[in-house]
Amino acid sequence: MSIEISREKCVACGACAVVCPGTLIWVDAAAYIKTPDNCWGCASCVKECPRGAIRLYLGADAGGRGGKLSARRDGALTHWSVEKPDGKTVEITVDSRESNAY
């Protein structure tokens, strides 16, 4: 698994580079990951990005099928978006004020 960062959407604010627990993200005109195979897949950067420019995916060697996961923060809410390989999108909103049911 790893991340991809859209150079079009990225504003080079560097917020993703700050929080990456592996310090794997570099920033020039846009942010980029130098060694995608070092990514843990924790999604810290995905949640931190103010522009929704970062998408998480599961590598094909671990059974990934091309879907992409992104997120948009809105106060206590996180709007997750799963782009499926067939082009359809599923949105799930999670409220940090609500506990997991399980």
Partner: protein, 561 residues
């Protein structure tokens, strides 16, 4: 890259190496218990999202629910570790679990409550939360303390030791060419445990899709081993039973929707092997080896509402599992969730591996404390146990912080700077850090009981592992780095090699099989209580590991150095 390094010296009263769960708790506890005194946290990433909890956590797995006691928690941990535990460490940790949970709630963590105000239990030791933002909440609390300074993106590479006392640490900045000389009256090692010693489940592109953070490289253990600290129970490896491929947690499926472990014929096999943590792994490994796999958690038939709740719960801790379900269309209600064991890790928050400590969590090196995953003897800590240990150390450190920090020997720092600059300038390296890491992982996998060996090893395979690891360690002395991040990778590889040698020595010393899969010795396949109801400890002396066998510390007893 500018191959010149600048030296920056910083003195503090209390140095905390690693701003994860235990490190943050220790900083807060120190500030609460003292009227003055400075704290410096040296963190390899950024404390907002560093360590095990970067993605979040599914539940608080160590809590004394109504009707249970700290003593009953100790009973559980002792039974799960087949007796090899320090009762004094477990009871002092267990007594702090509920206060740690309450503190998290006060910091803003969402906890599920019963109508009477008590926390909603999940099983008999767990409570339900929303743990997605647990690390940002801890980090914000630490950052609001005026006496705490946080150095983010700094990798600690060695202790500074004077006359068997730790007086600080050397560190390199990952973002700029700086070598830090950090001196302190008291030091806490809270680096977390070690992943990456063994070949992972997906050794290709997804090599870092693992249970434990791939960035927890065993620095804390390795620095202690090198400095001559006594270490305990490194042979009790931890192997997690996880969702296949995504390596996401299984507890939420098992405890949340009651999913049982089934083999390919649909037979529930978990009762056949026992229910300790290691027996659950061993059962799955055995079913697969004997041709009854693949194994899975039986989820088919749960409701659509369960499906939706699970998707939300996993977004709060392991978001790739939700992606996996949705991109494949194979949600748990329509397809059982396949499970597998991970590669072995060394992690004292789950098993008992780590520094041999006193009840105040001081190591055998004076003024050096250990908490969380690097502290040995007290398994089943989880998040609240790591917080409880940090709390204990934050108070214990006061014993040293009344005196000013000792001065560093700048000549030693200067020679370290020269050596590091040589690595930054080197052009004659035959090997790369990545290649040696892969070689180390293959050796450990094949000869020291990794996934492909069904976690089993023998005296002869361990002898081969030891020889090969020593050879790789020699080659790892000559590596090149283009910048300080690559320099840190070299240190991480060396840390893993140092720890691997100690793990092999411990596996060789415990000539029995007490924990299936965790330490499965094919030459000694039975448990041997007569000879091995002891701790296996070790200390590096003149370049060789000396094994030390110590008595168990039983109920009501305490151990002090």
């Amino acid at each position: 890259m500018n191959e010149r390094l600048t030296i920056e010296a910083i003195a503090t009263d209390f140095l905390i190496i690693g701003g994860g769960t235990a490190g943050c708790a220790a900083a807060l506890s120190f500030c609460e218990s003292s009227a003055s005194g400075s704290v410096l946290i040296a963190e390899k990433a950024h404390i907002k999202r560093s360590g095990c909890l970067a993605a979040g956590v599914n539940a608080l797995n160590a809590y004394i629910v109504p009707g249970k006691t700290p003593e009953s928690y100790v009973d559980y941990a002792r039974a799960d570790a087949e007796g090899i535990v320090r009762e004094d460490l477990l009871i002092t940790m267990a007594r702090g679990l509920n206060a740690a949970a309450e503190k998290l709630e006060a910091l803003g963590l969402t906890m599920l409550k019963n109508p009477d105000g008590t926390y909603a239990a999940r099983g008999t030791r767990n409570i339900k939360i929303n743990g997605e933002n647990i690390k940002p909440l801890l980090a914000a609390a630490v950052e609001s303390q005026p006496r705490v300074t946080v150095l983010n993106h700094v990798a600690v590479i060695d202790y500074i030791v004077r006359d068997d006392r730790v007086i600080g640490a050397y560190a390199i900045d990952l973002l700029k060419p700086v070598l830090y000389v950090l001196t302190a009256s008291a030091t806490l090692c809270a680096t977390g445990g070690a992943s990456g010693l063994y070949k992972p489940n997906n050794p290709g592109f997804s090599r870092h899709k693992m249970w434990y953070p791939p960035f927890n490289t065993g620095a804390g253990y390795a620095m202690g081993i090198r400095a001559g600290a006594e270490m305990t129970t490194l042979e009790m490896r931890f192997i997690a039973l996880r969702c296949k491929d995504t390596i996401a947690p299984t507890g939420t499926l098992a405890q949340g929707v009651g999913a049982r472990q089934v083999n390919a014929s649909g037979e529930i096999y978990e009762q056949k092997y026992g229910i300790t943590t290691s027996q659950r792994v061993h059962g799955t490994v055995t079913e697969n080896r004997e041709g009854r796999g693949p194994c899975a958690l039986k989820t088919v038939g749960i409701t659509a509402e369960h499906d939706e709740q699970l998707q939300r719960a996993y977004l709060n801790m392991a978001p790739l599992q939700t992606l996996r379900w949705l991109e494949s269309g194979e949600t748990p209600s329509v397809r059982n969730v396949e499970i597998e064991g991970t590669e072995p890790y060394i992690v004292g928050g789950h098993t008992a591996s780590g520094y041999w400590v006193s009840t105040e969590r001081e190591t055998t090196l004076k003024a050096l404390f250990a908490a969380g995953d690097v502290a040995g003897g007290a398994p089943q800590k989880y998040v609240t146990g790591a917080l409880a240990e940090g709390e204990i150390v934050g108070k214990a450190a006061l014993r040293y912080t009344a005196s000013p920090p000792p001065a560093a020997d700048l000549a030693e720092a200067e020679s370290l700077r020269v050596a590091l600059e040589q690595t930054l300038r080197r052009s004659d390296a035959n090997d790369t850090t990545d290649a040696l890491e892969a070689e180390m992982q293959s050796v450990m996998d094949e000869y020291a009981g990794g996934i492909s060996a069904d976690y089993r090893f023998s005296e002869s395979s361990l002898a081969v592992a030891d020889e090969k690891i020593r050879e790789i360690a020699r080659r790892a002395e000559v590596l090149a780095a283009a910048d300080t991040r690559e320099l840190a990778y070299i240190f991480e590889l060396r840390e893993r090699l140092t720890l691997a040698r100690s793990v092999i020595a411990h596996l060789r010393a415990r000539r029995e099989t007490r924990w299936h899969s965790f330490a499965e010795n094919t030459d000694y396949p039975e448990r041997d209580d007569a000879n091995f109801s002891v701790f296996v400890n070790s200390r590096l002396e003149n370049g060789e590991l000396k094994m030390i066998f110590r008595d168990l510390v039983k109920v009501g007893e305490t151990y002090e150095h």
